[in-house]
Point group: C2
Chain length 619, copies 2
């Protein structure tokens, strides 16, 4: 490589902050050591973070720039990944970090999702493009584990979880993106119960690569005679190479790579056009036993994938923030504001300048708040497992919160990741725009997060069109109730109390807007809903993030008060002060936006609907 | 090129909208035909736009992707621009569009700046990276024209304006970016009155290239013994090749290209490290007669350069918007919302979906509003020329508005350009992320606009720290007065009236915040000022843009009412309706933010100042 930085690790994570979330704020220790997490304790979980971070920095981080610069190439019908990727793939499989939360029955370690979410962040942050390959294999395995027959599980799970095989999700077609129900890929049942697959899928991440012996495609297709739309779609297991019942490989399955895309970012991840059955030789098996339930199965997979996108967002944003912080501490420029007109005053690191501090604190608040939301969501997933079978009501509450928070994590996590990367570039100044520093790549990589796995508008419609109405609206009521109870409990708090009025006001504005949207549904003003959906999602995300940041700040104040008043506690004291200031900043600068958004939506402006299509421009 | 799109023109502009601004809203016709624009009429100005657009699409547009993909290369100490650039450079010089507003004394056509701003937009939008080379030559010429000796003008202006030579601005050094006063480049006076220049400049756009016979560098340097800081800087004319008094070239002037940067975007523009006088052979001439006035001279140049960056912003954003609109009209996906649950309903172009319309209208409002602000600013420049010498008070008013609006145009124009590009990508969905479509390049190109020619925080500090106080605050008072008078006059307007309350509220919130900031200065709370500056700039920009959009809407309503009520007027009717809806959208969705910002600043939150530097993260 001509660029000397190309094989350096630039990834940065703040493990102290991650451990604060897991073990202090969300008290993971309380569920460790008991079923279903009996094998885990705080020390084990903590060690996993330390070791994963070490692995991420040593193995994946140095390949992030390499992957960006060299990209993938298509040669002789096969995709070749950047130099070093295959070695990293093997090392990751050997290390096993990806499988910490997989059921021990399938070779995993049965850890909580809350831990896995942070492991995923460390892997994604160090090398977003690389981590998509094992991440998609993992996702495909999860779907097969959930819906596959015993035979399918025995055949596919060990090599997928074990890192011998890759996996993909094949949904999108040239004319079916957000409108997945328009898929034209067909499946024709053969006499032996298997299916002949024919069709073209596009934008398939990891659609082919040279790191694994085989790739298992999960393909949405329509069985001949099935109904139109999403209700007629089935999910098929379509390996790149056919597999015998004993797991050995039989030969080609007529899956061809048409081309790979040239993209703005995530260049190390091969985005493929896949042609299935060009020569009438592509055989797939129905996932499970029943046709026409492919969308429901895919949605299960999408949930995990959507959380993973939110995790990608915070992972990249966090490293962008921490790199910008490093740079700001190091780079000297200008005098302090107390001597701003004195040209002979000593130059200070830019971290001392007010506007740089403002950007750093905004990045910190957003990164840490969104991370808290992700861990909260993952913990709800864990609590479903804890309570399943023993306390159905609690399990339902937690599952309801999972459903409600997934679109927030995906959409807010990705939108804000792009904003944080933009701000990180701005913190660097001109240096941020050049490839010697990592933030321009982070910004390019992050742009896809708002688009794939369902655009952020799809997320917003999922939230307002489906999730708000689930369980008769109870999920939302419980969420609002949790926030209100927190406000109620702590409003007299000496340091955090003053900010709780902001959270209370935001929570009420959110509740009011939810009611307003309900009346739109009820009074036939449906088109107002998609017009308002993105803003509503942002409002709800801000309430959720603000709540969790303030919760962290209350705890940090307690912890700080209990510290010994000497130098030995200086680092901890600084850490807890950081939590308080981040929460204060978010409460004072971001939470007020919720009321503003409510006011704007209250105007029920229809301009975007009413403008004639010809009036957008004269072309 | 492997990419078939690489030599296609993708540039789009809406000339109808440009002409509306010039000739309808800002009534340029009223000053054409009179001194100093006696040679110009509406038809001539209109023709310049038509022909420049044609040139931009035919010559520059097809090279935009080429330049991005191949970039520049440094070979044997010289920079080579992408294939086709040299030919385009020659054609542009021949066509002369760049010189429409240059004084006829120097070979130009003496047109108003308001026309030139749109010519600049057309050239920049078609190929941002390319247009920086002639743009910087133009900027260097303007400074020499303003401050140079007669000999300097005669020697340098003809080849700079004529397109034989290039030009640069050399400010930034490795340790002097925003803090330009820390420059270490030195100038030692020689016996013949010329100076020996020594030092290294970085981030020099067009620092070298193969399109011109010579390059004239304007270099900030400190004469031996001059005071520290900005007050000891002088500006020098330093040609790459020495020039004899008869204009012929004498040979090397010891200016060497150290390296070129690899960047996120504007890859066709060479960003150079320049070493002056490595071999003690670099000779410069003082610009004008006086030492230590380099900053003031540079600021004059910066004014033009900063406006040009705002123009770059709107240029790229506008084409991103229009390309997204094209795509949205063409791309079919999903049924209309009236049949959203019917899988057999016909698929509609995505321009019919509410969220896509919301994004398109937001892009339209921002693009057209910022363009209006730029034309308004340019017209103030023209009015200074009209009134100079005859009505000093009017000239001062217009110059005051120029000074006030420059930072708005630069910072708001660039920040919003990036947002519009982001939204254009989102409108495309997955297609927006791949290089087959132009918007991902626009987004990468646009990111630099918020950084160069003074970061946007430098702009904000220029606004609140200098411009608000100019003429004892009169510039701001006159601006606020102009807005208030507009609100007053039209608040009863049948269609636009309802939106004027938003503008009035925003104007009052802006005025209140300006007062608040004044008290910070007066009561020793200086550090609050930089903390609030960016937000204040955004508030003021929103007021300015909202005002001009609503002014356009009032006019559009009048014009629409006067149209014949038949098919012949369909296009005009659609156009005027578009203006109304864009203004309505901005008034209802963006203007309320001004009050919100005022509320946030009213909290006087100091978190970003108070957080200990060690508390940002534990690293």
């Amino acid at each position: 490589m001509s660029n000397p930085q190309a094989s350096q690790n630039r990834y940065r994570a703040d493990l102290r902050e991650m451990k604060f979330l897991l073990f202090e704020q969300f008290r993971l220790g309380e569920i460790l050591g008991h079923a279903p997490f009996e094998a885990w304790g705080v020390d084990e979980a903590s060690m996993v973070l330390d070791e994963t971070y070490k692995f991420a920095c040593e193995v994946l981080g140095p390949l992030n720039t390499v992957g960006d610069r060299s990209g993938c190439r298509l040669e002789g019908g096969r995709v070749y990944t950047p130099e070093g990727f295959k070695d990293a793939w093997n090392k990751l499989a050997e290390a096993g970090w990806r499988n910490v939360s997989v059921n021990p029955e399938w070779g995993g370690q049965g850890a909580p999702h809350a831990l896995y979410a942070l492991v995923e962040e460390l892997l994604s942050g160090a090398n977003t493009a690389f981590n998509m390959y094992p991440g998609l294999a993992h996702g495909a395995a999860e779907v097969i584990q959930l819906f596959g027959s015993q035979r399918q599980k025995s055949l596919y799970l060990p090599p997928l979880y074990g890192g011998q095989w890759g996996g993909t999700m094949c949904l999108t077609e040239p004319h079916a993106g957000s409108d997945v129900g328009s898929s034209r890929t067909t499946a024709k049942k053969l006499d032996d119960g298997r299916y002949l697959i024919r069709g073209t899928k596009i934008f398939i991440s990891g659609g082919d690569h040279d790191m694994a012996d085989n790739i298992v495609h999960l393909v949405l297709a329509r069985v001949e005679g099935a109904p139109p739309g999403t209700k007629g779609l089935s999910l098929f297991v379509v390996p790149r190479l056919r597999v015998k019942d004993d797991g050995t490989i039989e030969g080609s399955n007529d899956v061809a790579v048409g081309s790979i895309e040239h993209k703005m970012g995530i260049n190390g991840s091969a985005t493929c056009v896949l042609n299935f059955g060009e020569n009438d030789g592509c055989i797939g098996e129905l996932l499970g036993e029943v046709e026409n339930v492919g969308m429901a199965q895919m949605f299960k997979m999408m949930n995990g994938a959507r959380i993973a996108v939110g995790v990608q967002g915070v992972a990249v944003a966090s490293s962008a923030f921490l790199n910008a912080l490093d740079y700001a501490r190091d780079r000297k420029q200008g005098p302090s504001i107390d001597h701003w007109k004195d040209p002979t005053a000593p130059r200070v690191p830019i971290v001392e300048h007010a506007d740089v501090r403002r950007m750093l604190l905004e990045m910190k608040a957003k990164v840490e708040g969104i991370r808290a939301l992700i861990v909260k969501l993952a913990l709800h997933q864990d609590m479903v497992h804890v309570h399943q079978g023993s306390d159905d009501q609690k399990a339902q509450y937690h599952q309801g919160q999972v459903d409600l928070l997934v679109p927030l994590v995906k959409a807010y996590g990705s939108d804000q990741a792009f904003r944080v990367c933009e701000m990180a570039i701005q913190t660097y100044g001109g240096a941020g725009y050049i490839k010697d520093y990592p933030v321009e790549q982070y910004c390019r990589d992050a742009k896809i997060f708002s688009i794939y796995e369902g655009t952020n508008h799809i997320q917003a419609m999922d939230l307002v069109g489906r999730k708000l109405a689930q369980r008769g609206g109870q999920n939302l009521q419980e969420f609002l109730g949790d926030v209100a109870a927190f406000v109620q409990k702590h409003q007299g708090h000496p340091t955090v109390g003053p900010y709780l009025a902001e959270l209370g006001g935001a929570q009420e504005a959110l509740a009011g807007t939810a009611m307003r949207m309900l009346t739109w549904f009820q009074t036939g003003r449906m088109p107002m809903v998609p017009l308002a959906a993105n803003r509503f999602l942002e409002m709800m995300s801000a309430v959720a993030v603000g709540w969790l940041l303030l919760e962290g700040a209350v705890l940090a104040a307690e912890k700080a008060a209990a510290l010994p008043n000497d130098e030995s506690a200086a680092k901890d004291r600084a850490f807890y002060e950081g939590k308080r200031h981040a929460a204060a900043y978010y409460a004072r600068h971001v939470l007020p936006e919720v009321r503003f958004h409510a006011e704007v939506l209250g105007r029920e402006d229809r301009s975007a609907l009413d403008i004639p299509t010809d009036a957008f421009a004269t072309l």
